[in-house]
């Protein structure tokens, strides 16, 4: 049950990050268009709903990265036994949560997302 939930979460975070990839492209394109277009896009991204979207993207990034590493180990034939898979599942969630909180609370951009000035 637990491993199934994590597997679906890997997919869901991947689809979410796909959508955010288009935000990344729009952001770089706006920067290339010039200060006015850029200000328009960052104003949009800086509003509360989009800050929440981006904070979830940060969480999805870390979860997908660590869960992806777990999948690469499985592909190499390592850690596929039920007990090992459960343990690595907990490790992935713990690492993702720690990395998410660290980047959210300890960096200027993260604190911006969290709503602190």
């Amino acid at each position: 049950m637990y491993t199934t939930v994590l597997s679906i979460l890997h997919r869901a975070s991947g689809v979410y990050l796909s959508a955010c990839g288009f935000l990344f492209v729009a952001w770089v394109a706006a920067a290339a268009l010039g200060p006015d277009a850029y200000a328009c896009v960052t104003h949009f991204l800086g509003r509360l709903p989009m800050r929440i979207v981006l904070a979830f993207a940060l969480a999805a990034f870390w979860y997908h990265l660590f869960a992806g590493i777990r999948h690469l180990f499985w592909d190499a034939g390592v850690g596929f036994e039920k007990k090992a898979a459960r343990a690595s599942g907990y490790l992935v969630v713990a690492l993702a949560a720690a990395a998410f909180l660290a980047t959210l609370l300890l960096t200027p951009a993260g604190r911006f997302l969290a709503g602190w000035p």
Partner: protein
């Protein structure tokens, strides 16, 4: 990728390649983003105006969009059947290709300092 949607094993291997490429490139992008002193236009356009940073940005964007397309294709193939499957995969391909072209043009403009 000829015929239907390419052979499953090749798709699987290519997806592993973009996964591995995205480990360093994704971490580079996140930390480069988070360590910018601010996200004002001058700072961000200055960031991508440096040749190495522009190159890393292009590699990250290419790996990201390719991996995104690979992942979405697997998800669509698992959940959508019939004629709609080809439609969604085709739409995703067009959107990813367009995003790739826009990103490439934007990075070139930033690299030559055209957005200052």
């Amino acid at each position: 990728m000829s015929g239907t949607h390419g052979s499953a094993s090749r798709h699987w291997r290519n997806q592993r390649m973009t996964s591995i490429a995205l480990l360093p490139l994704g971490l580079w992008f996140l930390f480069a983003l988070l360590r910018q002193p601010s996200l004002e236009h001058a700072i961000v356009s200055g960031w991508f105006a440096k040749p190495l940073q522009a190159l890393l940005g292009a590699l990250f964007g290419a790996a990201l969009l390719w991996h995104s397309m690979q992942g979405l294709q697997v998800v669509i193939e698992d959940y959508v059947g019939g004629a709609l499957r080809s439609f969604w995969i085709g739409l995703a391909r067009i959107l990813h290709l367009a995003a790739g072209l826009v990103l490439a043009a934007a990075l070139v403009r930033l690299a030559i300092g055209g957005a200052a």
